[in-house]
Amino acid sequence: MIGRTPRWIVPIVGIIALIWIIPIIGLIVTSLRPISEIILGWWSVETVTFTLDAWTQVWSKYPLAYAFWISCKIAVISTVIPMLLAPAAAYAFHFLKFRFRRLILILIINAFVLPNQVVIIPLFRLWRDLGMIDNIWSVIIPFAGLSFAWAVFLVKNYLEDFPYELIEAAQVDACGPLARFFYIVLPNSLTPIAAVGILQFMWTWNGLLLPVVFLRDELPLPALLARIQGVYDRNWDQVAVAAIITTIVPLLVFIIFQRFFTAGAQTKSGSKE
């Protein structure tokens, strides 16, 4: 941001962040030390040895590459769908006038209160009858469908601050509602679209419940790695490896997509306010 930034901002945020990340540092340390050392806690300093054993074990025991590919397919498709359709819907609800507008909006938004397990058994029967078990679309469709509840809300909220004059200008130019959406609103809504992308990618990438139930051999990464943890024993080091591998990708998406947060501001500042 322009202007004087007080010097105390960055150190304070830094300290908070460093304290915040302690459990995650713990996760990393857990993945690098033998279990017998960390049984009482990853911070124990009695004997300290670092080893890549857990990493090599997980790497060799589980078909990570294929699962990674499946995760990519599922997450990318499930993310692109709401990134396109949620803004469309939010635009329709906010700027267009049509019957049942409020009713449909209420239904969609309230769907967010539904926990995933409500969806599982009915959909399982449906997919089984359609022969779609072990097909990644059995997971993608609910991921997308369930995302609209919050995604439409999110985009709509950002649209409420949208400078209406741009739309008026377009209307004077005899642009129809669809053209107004595609040419005016969409390009200026990169911020909420990026936010939807970050969240949806993370939730679908990390999503465990649906893939475990609907998929058999086509397992994404978290579902595959969930098998690592036993019922009667806790092999923390390998579990930590699994967690780290799984979390890195959504973080990368976060870093990349959050660049788009500023994009909207630049365009909008083009309107003489």
């Binding site: 945020v13 995650i24 926990p115 469908g145 005899a174 973080l251």
Partner: protein, 306 residues
């Protein structure tokens, strides 16, 4: 700022292009979404409502039960306790996570590039799965060799050491702290995104007028980041109602059910006890409760837009 009613219709005498009406455009934009939605949400919800009227014990065949599940729910002390716990849980978790996230977002927005690393760190807590976070915090709260008690002893506060997750008066608070730790990343992101969308010329004008950063924060950033705050409250509040994994790992709903939220209750009855009808009924009640609260809010907001 504008709304669906739109400005006065164009009164150009010549129709330049063939325009769609608002309704046609709306349906065009909405239909794909509605298809996904119908399959993934409408159908399961109808099925859930149907199931709530049946008594289903494990794998036994379903028996029609009428309102039985609902009557049992309201006389089930566990359900009623869970409502109380949920109230405390949802409000505190949302309040703290949104407040901290918003504060951090405002601070970070004054120096976005330098704080990127820190934002990633905090968002990482949101990215790690609830289950794994649960295990990490389990180690922190461990009564004998846990990190928290260890630190307290180290700084001479051993009087404060506790079996945090075993004492019914501290267990809920301890779980809330762990949950807030995971959730702050979301408001941080949405508020930061909001703030980044504020047109830069507003800041320019303010600084030219000699405003100090604190007032800039208070009068410009705070109000204009409200969309992000609203989204954060919405998502965090409703997610807190569904939260299960973290509670399960940290306390298993205990001690003596002091951390059993409605989300935990629903999951336990539907998935663990496999009393699908009973679990479905509790879900329906939750849905109705949220509807009751949200309908007026949504009517008001979309009404304003008009």
């Amino acid at each position: 700022m504008g709304g669906p009613d739109g400005p006065p219709k164009s009164s150009l005498p010549i129709k330049v292009k063939k325009q769609l009406s608002d309704t046609q455009a709306a349906w065009f934009l909405l239909t794909p979404l509605l298809i996904f939605f119908a399959i993934s949400v409408v159908y399961p919800v109808i099925e859930t409502i149907r199931l709530s009227f049946y008594d289903i014990r494990g794998l036994a065949p379903e028996k029609f039960f009428g309102w039985g599940n609902y009557l049992k729910l309201f006389s089930d002390p566990n359900f009623l306790t869970s409502l109380k716990v949920t109230f405390i849980w949802a409000i505190s978790a949302t309040f703290f996570s949104v407040t901290i996230g918003w504060g951090l977002a405002m601070m970070c927005s004054l120096s976005p590039r330098k704080t990127l690393v820190f934002r990633v760190m905090i968002f990482a807590a949101y990215g790690v799965s609830e289950a794994v976070s649960g295990f990490m915090w389990l180690g922190i709260y461990r009564p004998d060799y846990g990190l928290l008690n260890g630190i307290l002893e180290g700084v001479g506060l051993s009087g404060l050491t506790q079996p945090w997750l075993g004492n019914p008066s501290t267990a809920l608070g301890a779980v809330i702290v762990a949950y807030v730790w995971t959730q702050v990343g979301l408001p941080l992101m949405t508020c930061f995104a909001s703030i980044q969308s504020i047109p830069k010329n507003l800041f320019e004008a303010a600084y030219i007028d000699g405003a100090k950063p604190a007032s800039v924060m208070r009068y410009i950033i705070a109000p204009l980041s409200l969309p992000g705050v609203r989204v954060a409250i919405f998502i965090n509040l409703l997610n807190s109602l569904k939260a299960f994994d973290l509670i399960f790992i940290l306390t298993g709903g205990g001690p003596v059910r002091s951390t059993e939220t409605v989300g935990f209750f629903m999951y336990r009855e539907s998935m663990l006890n496999f009393k699908l009808g009973y679990g479905a009924a509790s879900t329906v009640i939750l849905l109705i409760a949220v509807l009751i609260v949200s309908i007026p809010l949504i009517m008001k907001r979309t009404g304003d837009a008009k």
